[in-house]
């Protein structure tokens, strides 16, 4: 009996995918694989292509991870190894609260505080000096870069929590051996701890990637909603999730809503794969670590 109840979780997952496939069917039949490669999005002519949204989703997520990874690993090192118990507890609570703040609150904050600040103090100076590099030109307040900045803040707790666990799972003996050989803190960390936690930190990064790909509201509020592949990271763009959030309630006809559901289907399938890979990676490293210990 309870077994059936518990099986609801995997069942729900399958049903979600099945229903989305069914709802997207008109668009899948009409466009085929062209849907993924076309850059044309025009509801008036019933012509839909997902490439700009896919590009925006991937670009924001990767920039966010590049920004968040060093910070996340640093915090994880502090939480796992360093500092007094109380300081550590305080930092840990802070990071967990960061995860608890609703996405829409990040959104309104990013829209009125972060994006204008970043425009003035990051985008304009950077593009002033490096604007000759094409993809750093033409700063705008609502941009792909500012969306990535919010995303980086939002995925930080995921990255930190899992990296901390993985770093803690590194067998004590390894670390003690390094210290006994006279290695400094940095030599121990860089030469011993991080290499043995590498696969787990990689898993944490991919898990954070899954979160970043699917994040909707905060990104929708600052990315600028421009259905084109931007020529610069400081330009407005669009992501899969924010197209759906903005356009779905207004979509009429058969093909338009179906195309939007297909965007959702692409999104959910990609995050499914990313999440499964990440979870298996994290699991296998913590198992290895417990075997080694």
């Amino acid at each position: 009996m309870v077994g059936i109840v518990a099986s609801l979780a995997p069942a729900v997952l399958l049903v979600i995918v099945a229903i989305l496939v069914q709802q997207a069917a008109p668009a899948i039949r009409h466009f085929g694989f062209r849907f993924l490669a076309s850059t044309d999005w025009n509801p008036v002519t019933d012509s839909f292509g997902a490439l700009p949204a896919i590009f925006g989703t991937v670009a924001t997520s990767f920039i966010a991870l590049a920004l968040a990874l060093p910070v996340g690993v640093a915090v994880a090192l502090v939480l796992a190894e360093q500092g007094q118990g109380q300081v550590r507890g305080l930092i840990g609570t802070g990071i967990e609260l960061l995860a608890a703040i609703p996405s829409v609150v990040y959104g309104i904050w990013a829209l009125y505080v972060l994006a204008p600040w970043s425009f003035q103090h990051l985008e304009v100076p950077i593009s002033g000096r490096l604007g000759f590099v094409g993809w750093l030109a033409d700063p705008a307040v609502r941009s792909l870069f500012n969306a990535s900045l919010v995303l980086a803040i939002m995925v930080l707790p995921t990255l930190t929590a899992i990296s901390r666990d993985v770093i803690r799972a590194v067998p004590r003996g390894l670390k003690e051996n390094a210290i006994a050989l006279g290695a400094t803190w940095w030599e121990t960390t860089w030469g011993v701890i991080l290499p043995s936690a590498r696969a787990g930190i990689f898993g944490a990064t991919i898990l954070a990637l899954g979160r970043a790909l699917g994040e909707t509201i905060a990104v929708t509020m600052v990315i600028g909603n421009n259905f084109q592949i931007p020529h610069s990271i400081f330009n407005p763009a669009y992501t899969l999730a924010s197209v759906i959030a903005n356009e779905f309630t207004e979509a009429t006809g058969t093909l338009y809503p179906a195309a939007l559901v297909e965007l959702g289907l692409v999104l959910i399938l990609v995050t499914l794969i990313v999440n499964v890979v990440a979870l298996l990676l994290v699991r296998s490293t913590s198992r290895e670590a417990s075997l080694a210990a």
Binding site: A6, L13, Q23, Q82, L98, I101, I217, M221
Partner: protein, 290 residues
């Protein structure tokens, strides 16, 4: 400088850098809280903010004290999250007990994986699902559809935290129950579950906090409303929807309402999180005593 000095110096420098990055990581938390309080407080200090419903933009002749409020959004969020809790919490608790107590190793590890994947599933996709399932057939938006979407988000959280709390209970309690001749389901429900209650409550609270702040799954299920709605079969307003829609409009009076709603949301969600951390610490101490 000798080689050893150089090594020590490099190590100190990297350690300093690590701490610096940690401080940088905490700066956004401070700024988000600070700006939400500063910009939301002027709306929230007036009691009518909690009594009245929203007002159309009053620009250019706004009264000194706005009489707009978010009562309809607070009630709507309560209805949505309440219905979602009714669905997700009992199922989640039973599922968690199964994972911790009954699971056949191979199948439970699949269920666990599915739960963790479900936690990471984009909430907008769950919204699309609830829309297809409950809005399309009935031809209108409804709080029911919204609460089903929220329930799907809550389920894996409740399940996994219940599992964690139940597996903290030492085996002695199980064995003594079974030795007294109790049936296995009675051991689970009458001995183990009560002992794990603080942990289970933590999970439920965290799930409620997560659901209260979700916007994406409500956009085309609960949809939103401008007045107080109590009928779950129709569209209904929610706090996150107020923040999302009004923040993007060019009227200062509406943006103020959005910041006020954001502050209410943040206080509620962070309050729940801090409470549940406290409950969880008690649970761990309690389990240690058993």
């Amino acid at each position: 400088m000798s080689r050893n000095h150089r090594r020590q110096f490099a190590s100190r420098a990297w350690l300093g850098g690590t701490y610096l990055l940690t401080v940088i990581a905490l700066i956004p938390l401070g700024f988000v809280l600070w700006f939400t309080v500063v910009k939301g407080l002027p709306s929230v200090i007036h009691p009518q903010f909690f009594i009245n419903v929203e007002r159309p933009p009053c620009e250019p002749t706004c009264p000194a004290v706005s009489d707009a409020g978010v009562a309809h959004a607070i009630v709507g969020t309560a209805i949505l999250v309440g219905l979602a809790s009714l669905m997700a919490i009992p199922v989640g608790i039973l599922g968690g007990i199964y994972l911790a107590e009954y699971g056949v190793a191979r199948w439970s590890s699949w269920v666990r994986l599915a739960c963790d994947v479900l936690v990471g599933t984009p909430s907008i996709a769950i919204g699309l699902f609830a829309y297809s399932l409950l809005v399309v057939p009935f031809h209108h938006f409804s709080a029911y559809a919204g609460s089903v979407a929220l329930a799907i988000l809550m389920l894996p959280i409740v399940m996994r935290t219940t599992e964690g709390a139940v597996s903290l209970i030492p085996n002695g309690l199980r064995e003594s129950g079974l030795a007294l001749g109790l049936a296995r389901w009675r051991v689970s429900l009458q001995l183990i579950l009560p002992a794990a209650v603080p942990g289970v409550i933590t999970g439920a609270l965290l799930a409620v906090a997560r659901a209260s702040g979700e916007t994406a799954p409500l956009l085309f299920t609960a949809f939103g409303a401008h007045i107080l709605e109590l009928n779950p079969a129709g569209p209904i307003q929610a706090l996150p929807l107020t923040v999302f829609r009004y923040a993007l409009l060019p009227y200062k009076s509406l943006q103020d309402q959005a910041w006020g709603a954001a502050l209410v949301l943040v206080i509620f969600v962070l309050g729940i999180n801090l409470t549940s951390r406290w409950v969880l610490r008690r649970q761990i101490r309690l389990a240690g005593q058993l």
